[in-house]
Subunit: 316 residues, 6 copies
């Protein structure tokens, strides 16, 4: 079987299909055009420069295209890089569907969908149940397609739903262990907490922030959606039920400096923030360790205060 | 004319009508009932204990009642205090209207109302104009009656409208001086920025935080009102006009640590935050200096990092 | 049945057995001796002053004694207080065992013990298993008797074991959900992480810090114990196994400012810190909410940045 | 008319007179000399490399010279750059006066001078008036020529006077609105607050910090000047008048961490700091927005916590 | 010999001459006058209330008077207190000189004076030598009488000179060990660094901050003195010599947040700040340990981040 | 005599023996191999690229080899660089011992050894004396060979012993001046405080952090060594003597955020931290000033908050 990008070692000759993740036309200091590119498949990414690019190359080799790449794996400034020998577009007889090359949630979307549906039955409070159902229905496509963040954690297709389900699973353990926690409120909060990202971010691929995302942020955006949904469903937005649900969502960053206009003032809000953090951290560290040799320290992780992490020698 | 509370000096015999601001039944260490009271008139406040209180006294001398107070001014733990000699309820032939004794905005409400109305004509953007008009109409009574804050600055009846108008006046100078500032946006933002406090706070007297105020905060509460109003007026909540107006409001605390879920990302938002701060600071410092003798330093002001302020000897 | 301390309302006549939690001889401003006391039973605590104390009273009414208390419940500075009418030592025909009056872990010690034992079988790494067994054996009595903290969270008899078991339960959910987490290492770390508190704190009753606790702290103290135990068991203290286990323990406060000399640099260390925090926070908030009426906010909690927490009106 | 630097688009052929702002001889990795240059005119700046530089080129093409530049506009690392085709010194028949190419205060120096003079009559306190007059006279040339800062805000010729006058205008609005503010003190403080920068900075062009600027800073330097001037004018440096004026100046950074040895302890000092900040922020944001397309976000601004700012699509 | 204040134990009858350190007339809750007093001798201080004070007592028993005190030592809120039995003014046949009762620098003033004089010969730079001599001459009386701080460290008569000499001694060791340190500059800086406190503080007894102290602070005040002195001595204030000396003084708090308008940018400034800190810390900790029993921890020290300090059991 | 590396000026032809400090094979953007090298001798370091490297060159020119270098001194990105003309390995008739080219402590190792030995006699407490002797004996070789830090201060061979002795010298001055300081404890703490770095760091040359260093840190590592040594010497690890010594070591970073699990709670610990800091700072600043021209500011120093330092024009 064809080798994946990450399976090549230094100085290996490479020959494989990859997706162009980004392609930027640049000029050398001495005035010649080249394309600075990033390639990806499901094993990871690599950068490379396509020298002496012609107009036609610039038109063909754009982000989103699948190509067959010939080259040699090298190291530049201690990061892997491919020295490009040749490159051509994949044709229709070849695996040219971009989604074959992008990272996906490690669980199937249909499994995630089922787990979310099942959880809805455990939200026994009628107001919360109706609000959550209405919003998940409205944003169904995006919820199961968007990443959970532009970078850092769960930055892959389906990442938002996957992150949400991971929190739900942790939440169920917490509910079982601490009966004083209101399960309906915690699950409703978990399901909606990051849904505003479907408005804050531009989409599942080449994700950027929208103007609304920059000016209002996903916390204000989802609160708006909850308010509107309540109005449509004729639920009083100032009933205690609504105050509690909205408090869960707007306080879930845990601290004002992280963008929550109020900090958690309910037990369930404390738990939601902690589980959100825990899942994101596990995902970030696990992701970094996957690219680390046993007995070595990983790259420094920006979202973890720039710390690096150790992979034990016994971790095969 | 009758002397005001603040005009009495130590050891003076006092005899005057005052409002009971607070009255709390307590027990001495040795088991006797007394009432710990605060009295006020427009000159200020003083504390005093009503010893050996009978059931009937506890029923009569409640917060909100006007009484005639006989006593002697003393100092206890370096704060003024009244040693109560006698106390009786004011009757209907006497000045027993509580509002005669509470602090008011230093400008008449009708003047404030007029200045606000005049400003509306300068909001030339139709969407913003309609939103602001609708919300000022909906919250008219509260806007001209509420304080601007529970403590710290403009904590008096009408303080919210007075603070808003002060910012508008500063804003007009800024607009004249810096033509690049969008006047409509700045005025609309100024008029709405603290309107959520009418929901966050319980009312103009004995002000406390509501549950909605504690769980959502006035920034989220007014954003909700803007969203709802836009829907009623058939204005798209995600149009650029609405994003800009909402950004003005939610960013006006200037920093995330002060409760803004996003920080200012527009010139007008930077200006609104600066003017809000400036007016509040002038009000806090001026208030403290009023109770300070020339040549002395004021009490330390909590909202100004605990700093104290100097009143020059030449300030008569 | 006899009413508990917390079941009395203001102005109730009280008559019940209680434990003297603390008793301090003091002098009134005018020179008379009295005893400032705190009483407790399993429902909570109350303060009271014993006036005009004689030498003999001072000798009798010491911390740790059970007494029969007659008095009246009052409020002093908004805290409940008992006005003591009479007081006598409980005799041997009465319930005079102090442990009948102190708070206990909400689970039986034997259940905790069993759960800990069962977990040991899941630590499949031989070095970690032997170290953990040896230390739990050495500190068995203290581990199941000490509180988890002097104040704040799990500050009751058996609190340390209870807190540890709570973390273990959460840890098992995490291990099930995230197979990349090394269960042996996480469980071993969880079991030992706070064991140093048995050296840092003076004991289960009237808990204070020892000199070793003040000068070295529980992190350094348990690291010392691990090193010594490894030597006794002939395990190389600088083997990777030992580095990993010790890293788990010394990094578990999560940040240097919280007293960890190094911050977490392993996935399992990240998880242990998060679960430790989560359980402590749930315990603090739940404890405060128990003393809060539905629809009200709790007292501010020191260990939660001074925030107060809302108990919903629907929480019966 | 000849196009300005900022009017060229990517790939345009360029031909125009520009000032060399900086020119640094460097060596390529492979050992050849080139000159790394920055060019400017009143529309902005651009960088470019002059390859294969001869001795003579290095002598001719120095900072401060006006040249005629032929080249092509390109983008290098997402910043605009000129690929230099040819370059020659402007001769005396051509516009070769460097000051034609440097940014200037947007108001004429004579207007600024007039506005400052007029304000002096409003400083009615004799001591402050004399001190301010004497110092403005002593530093007249520099005051109207220096920038207000090395980078960040008002970093152009005449920027210091322009920034000062902007603050004065805001100050006059404040004085009108808040009669409790002492106008003389506020104006005197505003006029002197940054005058020390004429000693701290090296001059209006190629501005750097002087040794005195680095070792003492402009706050200490202007305080020294005030002290000396008072002595020359036989004004007691420890009179209240002098303490107040000096306090205004040394506290104007608002916080110790920003270099004020004492923080504001007077109402006027609070106002001066706020207006100084406001004008600097408006200037920084407006400057960045000028280079931003409608509907886009600006570059991140270092002096505004690295935030970027939105230019509305309706801003033509 | 007569016992000192600190030599009495609880319940001892006391009879001794003491100085009244402070005396404040107060009123009991029930309206009776009393005097809240603090007494001191060289062993320490104690508080006590003089009940039922007559007009005549209030006139006689003022701060600064020496009295003969009869009373009983007690404990109130865990602090020692004297229950006053009787009190009378000391007459001229008795030790009624206040300075017999105030704490003094542990070295004689003449020794300090001699050590300072000797050091002057080691300042070989003529400018620095002349400035230091002139200023020490001008403030001679205050320099050898003032405390080094209002509270915290060296808060006793002569404390300023004593602290200065302590730093000089440390400085000499540093100079000997690190020949790259400029001895003249370091000694000159050390001698002047806190001299501004003689202007900032009101005097050696009942020390408070002056208005100049509050509005300008001792760093700006001594810089002013250096500038004036340089002018009198015809030394150019902007010569490098003067920049260096002034930099030493204004940077000696080490960080802007501690009130230095610039941070140390010279080796000698780094050393001066470190030695200033070291001597102050040793003094604070030693002072607290003097009142601590062996084997115990001291009170928490405000100036040391609220930490407490251990006195070993072997410290006799 | 042959010129040293730092004695060459720009454009000088260079010809001298140097040590290869680091050599990393890289690839140019266009795919050719080169070696990025750093050369050093006792005067300092310089970088240079060896272009078109053959397999054989890569094998020969490794870190640790002495070579004869021909080249030309240039400047690249404002840092000096050598343009390599030729390079050959030094042979046995030439000065090819690497230790001739590495920086050394400015005092001979035997002098340092003697000074340490002499100090041991001043540690009169038997427990501390035995522990210190045992550990210095065990780590004798490393103690006198290792640097004191990977970068920043005393980063040269023998730096650890040199830094330790510098602190001891300062400590002796402190002990003489402040008799309340326990000399034995201070000297014992000083001698051991950084000894854990011999385990934390990989060695005197090409120093990196070990896995134990990263996961446990030098504070925990030396505490472990003290505990083990006490056990071997049959000293009770929980005796007060041991608590005090261990407290000295683990608190010596002064603040938790700097990695001390407890902060100093003893006078001697306060002193040790201050002297450690002082010596490191003097070393960092002096080192930077050595490379600075008189009248100029040094490079910014990372370990000194990024500040730069002034070298007076009179400093020859």
């Amino acid at each position: 079987m064809e080798k994946k990008l990450k399976e090549y070692k230094n100085d290996d000759e490479m020959g494989l299909f990859v997706l162009i993740k980004s392609a930027e036309k640049r000029v050398t200091k001495t005035g010649k055009d080249f394309i600075a590119m990033t390639f990806q498949d499901r094993s990871g990414e690599i950068r490379g420069n396509y020298w002496d690019a012609k107009e036609e190359d610039i038109t063909n080799f754009k982000a989103g295209r699948v190509i067959y790449l010939n080259g040699k794996r090298e190291t530049y400034k201690s990061a892997p890089q491919v020295k490009i020998m040749a490159m051509r577009l994949a044709d229709d007889t070849e695996p040219n569907d971009p989604t074959l090359y992008t990272e996906k949630a490690p669980v199937s979307i249909s499994d995630l969908r089922e787990e979310v549906s099942a959880t809805l039955f455990e939200i026994t409070n009628a107001d919360w149940n109706r609000i959550v159902r209405a919003l998940l229905k409205k944003y169904d496509t995006q919820f199961f397609a968007y990443p959970a963040a532009k970078t850092n954690h769960h930055a892959f297709e389906g990442g938002l739903a996957y992150h949400t389900v991971s929190i739900l699973r942790l939440a169920k353990s917490v509910v079982k262990q601490y009966p004083q926690v209101d399960a309906s409120l915690l699950y409703a909060g978990a399901l909606l907490h990051d849904l505003g990202k479907t408005i804050e971010l531009s989409g599942p691929i080449s994700t950027t922030y929208t103007v609304a995302g920059n000016l209002l942020g996903h916390i204000t955006l989802i609160d708006e959606e909850i308010v509107k949904t309540a109005q449509e469903l004729k639920i009083d937005t100032n009933s205690e039920n609504m105050l509690l649900l909205r408090h869960m969502i707007i306080s879930h960053h845990g601290l004002k400096e992280y963008g929550s206009p109020v900090e958690p003032h309910m037990l369930e809000a404390v738990v939601l923030h902690a589980l959100d953090d825990l899942d994101a951290q596990i995902q970030m560290v696990s992701g970094a360790l996957k690219d680390t040799e046993p007995g070595e320290f990983s790259e420094r992780i920006f979202g973890m205060d720039g710390r690096n992490f150790f992979r034990p020698t016994t971790d095969k």
